[in-house]
Each structure stands twice: as C-alpha cells, then as structure tokens.
C-alpha cells in the first residue's frame, strides 16, 4: 500500500486547479440532494448519512482528475457513496440474499388481487403516500432498498444500478421485484390501518361474492 494521500498525488497549476474546481462545482455538487437521499437509504440514519455524504464529496473532489468528462457524474458519485458506506459497515457486504423469483411472482399478483378486492386498487393514484413511502423505504431491507432507490427513486437504468452496486443486471432485476413487492405490502398495510379503502368497497374479511 502506498503511504501517501490521493490529494498528494495531484499537484495542479493554480489556474488548472481553478478550472477543475469550477467543473466540480458545476458537475458534481448539483447531485448533493441525490447523493444524500441515496446515503440516507443506505444508512437509515440522518447523522450517518451526513457523514457518508461529506466523505463522498471529499473523495470525489480528491479524485476528480479520474472522473471522465461528460460521463454520468451521478452514477460515479453513487458508486463512491456506496463504497464509503460499505467501508464504514463491512458487514453489509456479506448480506445473504435469497430471492426466489417464482415466489415473488405469485406474491405480487396475490397482493394485487387483495388490493383489488378490498378497495385499494387505485391507492397509489388516490392517496398521498409520501409519508408512508418514506417509512416503507426506511424499513426495506438491504440490498433491496439501495436497488429500489437507484432505479425507482433516482431514475437510473438497470446498467447504472448494476455498476453502482457491483452486481449483474439480473440481480438488479430480481432485487427490484422483491423490493417493490415488499414496498407494496407495506403501503397496503398502511392503507388498511388508516382505513383508506375506496368507498363502497367490500368490507375486509367478508367473503367475496
């Protein structure tokens, strides 16, 4: 291992450094909200997320010379962010992941039919689910949470998620299937607890007929 910092590797002419800073400000800093959301989804703790975000941008700044101009800066920052997080919590790397796609297929369709029968079919369109969704996302276990965050919330393609998470695209797909299904279960449970069934829907527990 080399014994000096990354920053010491790069000595820039002041004018060049100014130009680099300007590029960093224009291309990297605008993604701070996105990196924060991602960090928060990983840490589930605001204080930890703040530490991860700070470290992410510091590392990004120090390795800015390695960033390829006009490539996807947000993806690059997410990758750094996840690595920072994993270094802080090595145990997350060894999470056992069991995904049975057929079980998820059946469970997802069953969930929809339950929603349809009990008056929640239009739940996502009819109710402001933002608070419930924040809670559901926070409870979503890893590695499903970070995958859903990258693809569904941050609107990144599967390829980007695969790169950031260091897994094959097929794994991204199966994690999404499971993660979305768990979120739907939680949103449905929230709606039931809050009595948000559409008026005129069959009472829960009554046989359908």
């Amino acid at each position: 291992m080399r014994g000096h910092s990354l920053a010491a590797d790069v000595t820039l002419h002041p004018l060049h450094a100014r130009d680099q800073d300007e590029r960093f400000e224009q291309e990297a800093l605008p993604w701070l909200d996105d990196v924060y959301r991602f960090a928060l989804s990983l840490t589930r703790d605001e204080t930890d997320a703040e530490d991860v975000v700070q470290d992410t941008f510091l590392r990004a700044y120090k390795s800015w010379h390695t960033y390829e101009p006009d490539s996807d800066c947000r993806r690059w920052l997410f990758t750094i962010c996840r690595n920072v997080f994993l270094r802080a919590r090595e145990k997350e790397r060894t999470t056992v992941e069991l995904v049975d796609s057929e079980v998820d297929v059946i469970a997802t369709s069953t969930l929809f039919f339950e929603a349809m029968r009990s008056g929640y079919e239009d739940l996502h369109a009819r109710v402001d689910l933002a608070p419930a969704l924040a809670d559901a996302l926070a409870k979503l276990p890893e590695p499903f949470r970070s995958t859903v965050l990258i693809v569904d919330v941050e609107d990144q393609p599967y390829e980007a998620a695969a790169q950031v998470l260091g897994v094959p695209i097929g794994t991204v797909r199966s994690r999404l299937f499971r993660g979305r299904r768990i979120l739907q279960e939680q949103l449905l449970a929230f709606a039931r607890d809050a009595g948000l069934a559409k008026q005129g829907a069959p009472t829960e527990g009554q046989p359908h007929g």
């Binding site: 920053a7 450094a17 100014r18 800073d21 300007e22 960093f24 400000e25 800093l29 701070l32 909200d33 996105d34 990196v35 924060y36 959301r37 997320a49 703040e50 975000v53 700070q54 941008f57 510091l58 700044y61 120090k62 796609s101 297929v105 997802t108 369709s109 929809f112 039919f113 929603a115 349809m116 029968r117 079919e121 239009d122 996502h124 369109a125 689910l129 933002a130 969704l133 924040a134 996302l137 859903v148 693809v151 569904d152 919330v153 941050e154 609107d155 599967y158 797909r173 999404l176 299937f177 979305r180 979120l183 739907q184 949103l187 829907a201 069959p202 359908h208």
Partner: protein, 95 residues
C-alpha cells in the same frame, strides 16, 4: 368494478398469458424487453381487463416512487458541511 370481474379464477391456476404479464410487467415498464416481447405483452394487456388493471396499478406505483424523488433533498446543514470540508481540501467556489 371488482364485482364484475371473474376474480374467482384467481383461486385456480392463473392463465399463462396473465402469468407472463405478472412476470414481466416491470420489465415492460422498465423498458427491459425487446420490441417483440413488449408488443406481445401489450397486446394481451389490451385484451385482458384484469391485466390492464394490473398494469395501471403497477404503473401508478412506480410513478409514486418516482415522485418521491422531488419531495426531499439534503438539509441545508449538509450542504454547508460538505462545502466546508471541500474548502478545507482546497476547493474554491466560483462565487
């Protein structure tokens, strides 16, 4: 109306075309299918009322997730903290 649909069918085997929709709808919405696969799935969704409703259900779910992005960002103290640590590392803002 749910009452008008043959929901009792769901207690038995799910028809193969409908099962394909359940298996691959998210692939369709995520633009992961070939044109031919997407067309085949869309055709069935257009013909099957339950699958059409399933499609709407999942589509609005993904829209809800997508909308979540615009609803919160980093608190101002995080932005201030990041900028401070960057300045300590030599970063100079343009203004």
């Amino acid at each position: 109306m749910a009452d008008e649909l043959p929901l009792e069918e769901t207690a038995g085997p799910i028809p193969e075309d409908c099962l394909a929709v359940v298996r691959h709808l998210w692939d369709l919405l995520d633009d992961q299918l070939t044109d031919a696969q997407a067309e085949r799935l869309r055709r069935h969704i257009g013909e099957c009322e339950i699958c059409h409703r399933y499609h709407l259900y999942q589509e609005t779910f993904l829209e809800t997730l997508g909308a979540y992005r615009s609803q919160f960002g980093a608190p101002s103290r995080v932005k201030a903290r990041v900028l401070e640590s960057l300045r300590e590392a030599g970063f100079v803002e343009s203004r």
